[in-house]
């Protein structure tokens, strides 16, 4: 568990981070979201002491990190840099082995762990002896992730890990990220200015502005209960899409008609977002789709119109604005 209290950092006249407090539970993923220059990176770097705070405390598992040796602390925290920061003079294998070598692992153990990660991250083994310059941006990003994961540190910090990627590659990595078992047991703080990414990957989102956290909570809370105009405006542009992604079919289950005619056999799980259901209509033009509620094993077949009306009835119910 990470507990941050009253963190302050000023650079000259700039209050980069101005009294920030938050907690991240074990195994939880928190996204720091905000406009450029709002202090996200500064906050993140204070967590592994790349930057020392002016005041405030940071505890990891009840230990004050400011009283630990910074080198030892950093070896227990995975860190993914904004521009991956791979060593250009090290091969992929050597890059991944940096922290294990610092921790004095033996060769066999490093090799085993590296191979395991390559497989999980879908990196072909042939790349082990390649240099970072010979890899594509997406592959470099995966190596960066592998390097941060290799020592299985309980905490992972990521600074705009997928910032430099095109949309297609990013979506692909997002999908992989969501199913990667390595990440499930980690406490993760990731910085992003991509709302979609934050909503997709994080359990909770901390909205930052001018060095402060303006709102922290689950995606739904930010979306339907914005703390102020800043949060509202920040989400405005993509509001509909975000809503459709955030609201799950299970949320609107009660408004879906139970008597729909089943035409085909394909099924969509109810924990998918409304967006995904709409997508299904688009890709396979058909009259209705089957949605299965995994808890009850009940299947409901709905048409496009029925889905949309269930969605609007749900929305009218949710208190907002």
């Amino acid at each position: 568990m990470i507990k941050v209290s009253n963190l302050v950092k000023t650079f000259g006249a700039t209050k980069a981070v101005n009294d920030i407090s938050f907690e991240v539970a074990k195994g939880e993923t928190l996204a720091l979201l905000g406009t450029s220059g709002c202090g996200k990176t500064t906050t993140l770097k204070m967590l592994n002491r790349l930057i020392e705070p002016d005041s405030g405390t940071i505890e990891i598992d009840g230990q004050n990190i400011l009283s630990q040796s910074p080198e030892l602390l950093r070896r227990s925290i995975g860190y993914v840099l904004q521009n991956n920061g791979l060593f250009p003079h090290y091969t992929v294998a050597e890059n991944i082995a940096i922290v294990p070598n610092l921790l004095k692992w033996d060769k066999a153990k490093i090799e085993k762990r590296t191979n395991e990660l390559l497989e999980k991250l879908h990196l072909p083994k042939e790349y082990l002896n390649a240099y970072p310059a010979e890899l594509s941006g997406g592959q470099q990003q995966r190596v960066g992730l592998a390097r941060a994961l290799v020592a299985d540190a309980p905490v992972l910090l990521m600074d705009e890990p997928f910032g430099a990627l095109d949309n297609v590659t990013r979506s692909k990595i997002h999908a992989e990220f969501n199913v990667l078992d390595e990440l499930k047991r980690k406490t993760i703080i990731m910085v992003t200015h991509d709302v979609q990414e934050a909503f997709l990957l994080a359990d909770r989102v901390a909205m930052m502005d001018k060095g402060q956290i303006v709102q922290i909570g689950a995606a739904k809370e930010l979306l339907f209960n914005p703390a102020n105009d800043f949060v509202k405006d920040f989400l405005k542009e993509q509001h509909l899409q975000l809503e459709l992604k955030t609201i799950k079919l299970s949320d609107i289950w009660q408004y879906l008609p139970a008597d729909g005619r089943r035409i085909n056999t394909s099924q969509l799980a109810a924990n998918a977002g409304v967006w995904e259901a709409l997508d299904t209509f688009k890709f396979y033009p058909r009259e209705n789709i089957n949605i299965i509620n995994q808890q009850t094993k009940e299947v409901r077949s709905v048409t496009f119109d029925q889905l949309m009306s269930a969605y609007s009835r749900f929305k009218n119910q949710v208190p907002h604005e």
Binding site: N48, E71, L73, R74, R75, Y79, G85, F87, H89, L102
Partner: protein
């Protein structure tokens, strides 16, 4: 010229042991200084990349050091470190420092800050960041600096022979003084080849990929030390006294060769430039030196001339050399230059030299005082636009003589004067005259006979002891061969001479060169 003309290859074969020694010394000097420069420059470069505000001053100072002319820098070293290898190495070190410090600094500060941050974030301490990230990534730039430093050092090391540190400069500068092209090339070609070779080897090192560099970097210091040791291999002999001879003296029949063949003199000898030789004798770095009998420093440093009892040093009477076409072009020139004839004897010249060399009066002032004292000085007249070009070699006596001639010409004729002083050795100034770049310069009969005419030993044997026969021989030969005329001798005889400190000579009862030999032979 009359005898068989020696080819370069023959010369190199004949002198192969000397050539080998000089090459080894050259490599040694280059790499000892390079090694020290790397050992000091690398940490300094790293340090200023940490404390950035020091980078300006440090790089500035190193830059200034590099702009000091090499000869001047060597000169500055002598009072501090004496002569020989030490000052040469320090001077070379100072030249090598800038490229190494600068490139280390540039290389390290140029490492991608993202990569450095990643290294820190991964839990590396500052030494690990330095050795695993910064240095390997900066290595190509650092190697480029070392490469530059190496090439600079190979070049500057040729000047080390000026202060008795050896190296290929001995042949190069000896050859220039002796008008011996083979000798010059025997030094210059290996020096150039060393520069090209080392540059090439380092370029290979630079091109190796990062992985291999890691390994090579480890063997590089070892290689440097091995190459450095080359310097110490040759100098393993010694004797009771140490002689310092100029490169010119070393290669001459009327110099060291004569001392060996006629006197059988065997003495531990180092090669040194005329500029620092006297001082080194006074400071007891050297015991016997090859000087000029009219040199002012003889008086200044209380040295005495050993009597040449076997007459190996031919007369060196000074007289103006003039191009014949210049004598036609400037009808009054000959008479004007001859006004000086007979006015300066040995002791007068020594006195004049003493005033420039030791009292540090300007040659202009000494020249003017001399002319005024002899009632010859006249204020300069308006020139008619025609210009007489005077040349001089690069030492005080020649400066005084050219100044006297310049004043005489300006005072007694309507010609203008252009002086080209400091024209290196005999070869350079004489080539300038042959190529019609100067009209007049003062030369010595002995030099004309031996260095320029390279008279066969038979002729030398006939002329050697006689002042007049030597003068007449060179006069006729120069007119015949070069259309250059010897005017009347000025009067003094600036011959080669062996010198010792007066006190030491008295203690050892050495008055003649034969005495010296006898002393050296007693165990």
């Amino acid at each position: 010229m009359n005898e068989h003309q020696q080819t370069l290859l023959e010369f190199m074969q004949q002198q192969s042991d000397k050539l080998l020694v000089q090459t080894m010394q050259h490599i040694g000097l280059t790499f000892i200084s390079l090694f020290i420069a790397v050992v000091t420059g690398l940490p300094l470069g790293i340090y200023i990349s940490r404390v950035r505000k020091l980078s300006g001053p440090v790089l500035g100072i190193a830059g200034i050091l590099q702009t000091i002319p090499s000869i001047a820098l060597l000169g500055f070293m002598i009072p501090l470190l004496g002569i020989g290898a030490k000052p040469a190495i320090v001077a070379l070190l100072l030249y090598a420092l800038l490229p190494i410090v600068r490139n280390t600094y540039t290389g390290i500060t140029g490492v991608d800050s993202n990569v450095k941050e990643a290294a820190v974030a991964m839990g590396m301490n500052k030494w690990q960041v330095l050795f695993k990230v910064e240095l390997p990534l900066a290595m190509p730039v650092i190697l480029a600096g070392i490469r530059t430093a190496t090439v600079i050092n190979v070049g500057v090391a040729t000047l080390a022979s000026y202060i008795a540190a050896g190296g290929l400069g001995e042949f190069i500068f000896g050859g220039i003084s002796l008008n011996n092209t083979n000798m010059i090339l025997a030094g210059a070609i290996p020096a150039a080849m060393l520069a090209i070779l080392f540059d090439f080897l380092l370029s290979l090192l630079q091109k190796l990929n990062f992985k291999k560099v890691k390994g090579t970097v480890k063997i590089a210091p070892v290689l440097l030390i091995i190459l450095s040791c080359f310097y110490f291999i040759p100098s393993a002999y010694g004797s009771k006294l140490t002689a310092g001879f100029t490169p010119e003296f070393m290669g001459r029949q009327d110099g060291n060769l004569g001392l060996v063949s006629k006197y059988g003199l065997k003495i531990h000898t180092i090669v040194i430039s005329d500029a620092v030789m006297y001082k080194a004798a006074q400071e007891k770095e050297l015991d016997v030196i090859s000087g000029y009998s009219t040199d002012g420093r003889l008086k200044a440093y209380d040295l005495i001339v050993l009597d040449d009892d076997k007459k190996i040093f031919p007369p060196y009477y000074a007289a103006p050399l003039v191009r014949e076409d210049a004598l036609k072009k400037f009808p009054e020139l000959e008479a004007t230059l001859n006004k000086l004839s007979g006015l300066i004897n040995d002791s007068v010249m020594t006195e004049l030299n003493y005033r420039t060399d030791y009292l540090h009066q300007t040659p202009e002032r000494v020249a003017k005082d001399f002319l005024q004292a002899n009632g010859l000085y006249k204020a300069p007249q308006q020139s008619n636009g025609e210009v007489v070009r005077l040349g001089s070699k690069i030492f005080g006596e020649q400066y005084i003589l050219t100044n006297i001639y310049s004043m005489l010409i300006k005072g007694y004729t309507y010609y203008g004067v252009e002086t080209k002083t400091g024209l290196g050795g005999t070869k350079i100034v004489f080539d300038a005259m042959i190529n019609n770049q100067i009209d007049v310069y003062p030369e010595y009969t002995g030099t004309g006979l031996l260095a320029i005419l390279q008279a066969p030993s038979k002729v030398i044997g006939q002329l050697q002891t006689s002042k007049d026969s030597t003068y007449n021989y060179v006069k006729t030969e120069f007119e015949k061969r070069y259309k250059i005329k010897w005017l009347k001798p000025i009067g003094f005889n600036n011959a080669y001479a062996l010198m010792m400190r007066r006190q030491q000579a008295n203690e050892l009862h050495i008055k003649t060169i034969s005495d010296l030999k006898r002393y050296l032979n007693t165990k």
